[in-house]
Assembly symmetry: C2
Homo-oligomer: 238 residues x 2
């Protein structure tokens, strides 16, 4: 591929175009979730267009999609930037996860089988490995992937999609408010959860998921870094 790519700017043959778009979307999305693009970072259309070798048109489409998922913020005439989640948003997101992910556990337990359990264990293993090798950002994304896969196993595609969006935003929240060296999810929580699901114990899994999510939320330090416009009144005692 690299030959044709560098040789001359040939037009991608349409089918490739769609895949390329999806790949670029994933690339940007992953970069945000893994905090290689930090909250507040500006995403200039020209720059992205040049990096990925397509025109601004395609970039705009991708940015708008990311904006609807609330990973980037689109301010009129100012362009796109990586969303900086507020404390309120963080609370909403974790409350939503409590409601939805916990509510799904009984369904997941009912539909669990050996193949699914094996797949989940493999995911959990990769996550631990990433954490051990110091790749915290990657671990955060893998953890999100785990939760999403779990939701998909419930059989409800709509709710799974919601969970996917909540997990993306959670990763962003963790990247901002999380402590360094302390991943949201405890190392063996996910394995324990798989255990409960394998035995079909939906209620137990539900309770465990609830504690799991509470633990993540509790691990955050919700100090809003107000680097913009520091409140001088407050700082210098009115």
């Amino acid at each position: 591929m690299s030959d044709a790519q560098t040789a001359l700017k040939r037009r991608p043959t349409e089918k490739e175009g769609d895949e390329r778009h999806e790949a670029i979307y994933r690339a940007v999305s992953d970069a945000i979730v893994e905090q290689r693009l930090k909250p507040g970072a500006r995403l200039r259309e020209d720059a992205l267009a040049e990096v990925f070798g397509i025109s601004r048109t395609g970039i705009r489409k991708i940015l708008q999609r990311l904006a609807l998922e609330q990973l980037v913020t689109l301010t009129p005439r100012r362009g796109a930037s990586v969303t900086r989640p507020t404390a309120d948003e963080a609370k909403d997101v974790f409350d939503a996860r409590q409601l939805i992910e916990c509510g799904l556990m009984p369904d997941v337990a009912r539909r669990m089988n050996a193949a699914a359990a094996a797949e989940l264990r493999e995911m959990a293993r990769q996550e631990r490995q990433a954490l051990r090798s110091g790749q915290q950002s990657v671990a955060i994304r893998l953890s999100a992937d785990f939760h999403v896969r779990l939701a998909q196993l419930s059989g409800n595609a709509t709710l799974a999609e919601f969970v996917e969006r909540l997990c993306s935003r959670s990763s962003l929240i963790l990247a901002v408010y999380g402590h360094r060296g302390h991943l949201g999810c405890e190392s063996h929580d996910h394995d324990d959860l798989i255990g409960y699901l394998e035995t079909g114990n939906g209620e137990r899994a539900k309770a465990f998921m609830s504690r799991h999510l509470k633990a993540i939320e509790a691990s955050l330090s919700m100090v809003e870094e107000e680097e913009n416009v520091p409140d001088l009144q407050q700082i210098f005692g009115a």
Copy 2:
């Protein structure tokens, strides 16, 4: 303003542009939800662009947003058409509503106050009126608005947004699978619900909402009209 508008095609002064886009989005969205645009109807970019007096660029943006909300389906090289919800999707949507809307009721009850109750009663009144005057489509939309407003009162913006999307899709489902003359929501259900919420009885409201949603789902006739490519094998007995 009308002078300048009709006199010559002046370029909208930018701020108006955003509002116009939003207005067009609402117009198309409402038309779909109220079934003035029926499922399967094609939405050609040129046609829409001409009707609303903007170029295809803006139309595409709106169509993509509607596609992410699953109100329209975007098939590559074929363009946009109004989504025809499948029976499976309908089930997913109503299951999701059960989980989320019911789960929200205790929060709503806790935050309910006189002003909110009055607003909700007014919405319920308008809905009944629309139903009485035979405007079923409008009533469906007003009913959806009621459920969305309710979710917003929970204080969780994220979940409220999810409910909004679920209600849009529900309207589409009702428009397709609902019986004529039988609106999903019973006439006085919403008023009863407001009553429970006003007294702060969250659990009662939750149970009522659950029955309410079950009643709507039960009122649907889930026959998938397969008007495209009728299966002649099946029809004429193989």
